[in-house]
């Protein structure tokens, strides 16, 4: 009798263990019972959203193949994997298959010329794709860039490729404003800022050469504190980036800035980068209210003094601290004409506007004509946070991070707080 019970318990245990194992397998089906129309987002008339995937954790950047499959890069492992391939079996927009691979956390991911490129915080890898744009050998990527600086602050490496075999990598500054003592009240800036030799800019490497280090690349553009969102614009044939502006004007220099000015300034800036340009960090910031480049207080500024140095102007400026993490130039045919060649920007959402209310947690749009913004920015998709009471970094239910365009012209948005991938489509009424 006792033996019988023991064996039935054992059998039960084995069944339980097996089902647990089945669940932890990195290829699994997704429960579709939680579908919510429009997925909680506020969108212009005619647009709708569905959640292509949910629960992936820290979903950073994404890319979509010509077949409509999604690759997403995670900054924290989900079921021990850090890149996910998502496939929609029946064409309803929700993905049914998740296949995980990769063991390095990171942000950057993109597809170019038959390869999937993905970054850790120190390296860039690439995977050969087959004719269906599936990774041929997920366990054996080629390491194309190695040894990049990652000192916690601004350590994510975003990537974009041009049409001439080059890859551009952001290397963020491991500092807020190059003070002698980082983020210390009243501490002055180091002159010249020593960080800029190996960070605080965009580096250019070959897209097909293995094991490149700093010595193999060139510093393509400098004076950029931190870039997370960047995209190659095929209509201008140039690189566009979104800079995260400096923090703490009031906290570090309370005599020069009040909390309201500190919340609004400096602007989050979009730059068009040509080789060799300097965007001015840490010496200056862009004030979108005065429409001027202002000398940072760490370098003798007073909130008004402008620079005479040869730093470039932004092509577009946004309110402070909204944290632009994704940039995408729209080339699809699904959305109305005004969106063609315009820029979508995923604003992750602010924290440094406190004690003023936070801002961001939205996807913005800037219309472009002849390669330049043709009018002010507007909110495209809002309410990622989940309501006004959730507009704060700790409470937001979702925080937009990456953007990608589907083969049908739909727009995908990733969320690194709730791990959701949104698919936004348009249908004329």
């Amino acid at each position: 009798m006792k033996n019988k019970r023991f064996y039935s318990m054992l059998a039960l245990a084995i069944i339980c263990a097996n089902s647990l194992l089945a669940c932890s397998n990195d290829t699994s089906s997704v429960d579709k019972s939680t579908t919510v129309l429009n997925a909680g987002l506020e969108l212009p008339t005619g647009f709708s959203t569905i959640k292509a995937a949910e629960g992936l954790g820290e979903a950073r950047h994404i890319t979509v193949t010509p077949q409509g499959d999604i690759y997403v890069k995670l900054s924290s492992a989900y079921k021990d994997k850090t890149i996910y391939y998502l496939h929609d079996n029946n064409g309803d927009g929700k993905t049914d298959v998740q296949t995980g691979f990769g063991d390095y956390v990171g942000t950057g991911i993109t597809i170019k010329n038959g390869y999937l490129y993905a970054s850790s915080n120190t390296e860039v890898y690439r995977y050969k794709l087959d004719a269906a744009n599936k990774v041929i050998d997920p366990s054996k990527p080629e390491k194309i860039i190695t040894g990049l600086i990652a000192r916690f602050q601004h350590d994510s490496k975003s990537i974009a490729l041009d049409n001439d075999g080059n890859i551009y990598v952001n290397i963020g500054a491991y500092s807020n404003s190059c003070q002698e003592k980082d983020r210390s009240k009243g501490s002055m800036g180091i002159m010249p800022c020593p960080i800029l030799d190996s960070a605080g800019g965009i580096w250019k490497f070959k897209a097909d050469k293995l094991n490149q280090t700093y010595a193999d690349g060139i510093r393509y553009a400098t004076g950029l504190r931190n870039v997370v969102g960047l995209d190659w614009n095929n209509s201008t044939n140039s690189l566009f980036v979104m800079q995260h502006g400096r923090d703490g004007l009031h906290d570090l220099f309370p005599d020069l800035y009040d909390t309201k000015q500190s919340a609004e300034l400096p602007a989050e800036c979009m730059y068009e980068l040509k080789e060799g340009v300097n965007c001015g960090w840490p010496y200056v910031y862009y004030d979108h209210i005065q429409k001027k480049k202002i000398i940072n207080p760490e370098y003798g500024g007073d909130g008004k003094k402008t620079t005479t140095e040869n730093f470039i102007d932004p092509v577009a400026a946004f309110p402070g601290h909204m944290a632009p993490n994704g940039l995408l130039f729209y080339t699809g045919n699904m959305f109305p004409e005004k969106y063609k060649n315009g820029a979508f920007i995923a604003f992750h959402g602010s924290w440094n506007r406190a004690p003023e209310p936070q801002k961001g947690y939205l996807v913005a749009f800037v219309p472009f004509k002849d390669g330049k913004p043709s009018s002010d920015w507007e909110i495209f998709a809002d309410n990622f946070a989940g309501g006004p009471e959730f507009v704060s970094p700790g409470k937001a239910k979702h925080r937009p991070c990456g953007l990608a365009q589907g083969p049908d012209g739909s727009l995908y948005v990733s969320d690194d707080s709730g791990g959701t991938i949104y698919k936004i489509t348009y249908k004329a009424k």
Binding site: S75, S184, K395
Partner: protein
């Protein structure tokens, strides 16, 4: 007799506890102002911090745990990257050693008794003692 002594001890302890609790109120109130002036931007009005960047102050062993460690953290700041209850945060914290002993005692008493936390007060003497060892 034994029972009476125990009862007296319990009552005494409880009244002391109550006294201590009511007595921290002025310190908590002063600490709130210090918090709003020097700490709130990074740690947020609800003490929740910023995921991946600035540590939360609520329900963490650092806030309600060893006072000496907490005082040292405020005085020295940190650029070291260590896990706080298993989570990493990217931003550096500057030394806040320009704050007076009383301000540090008040603000730490405030955060140890706000955002869902409940822990003993930090005294000016405790801050003074730690400051003497921190260079």
């Amino acid at each position: 007799m034994k029972k009476i002594i125990i009862t007296i001890l319990v009552v005494a302890f409880f009244s002391l506890y109550l006294f201590a609790q009511t007595n921290i109120k002025p310190s908590v109130n002063r600490g709130k102002i210090v918090y709003e002036t020097y700490c709130l931007t990074c740690h947020q009005d609800d003490g929740a911090g910023v995921p991946k960047l600035n540590p939360t102050l609520s329900n963490t062993s650092y806030t309600t745990g060893d006072k000496k460690k907490l005082i040292t953290w405020v005085l020295k700041g940190t650029t070291d990257k260590i896990a706080i209850d298993g989570k990493f945060y990217s931003n550096n914290m500057a030394p806040q050693n320009y704050l007076k002993d009383e301000e540090i005692a008040d603000v730490l008493t405030y955060i140890r008794n706000s955002f869902g936390n409940k822990a003993s007060a930090v005294t000016v003497a405790e801050v003074k003692a730690v400051r003497a060892t921190v260079k």
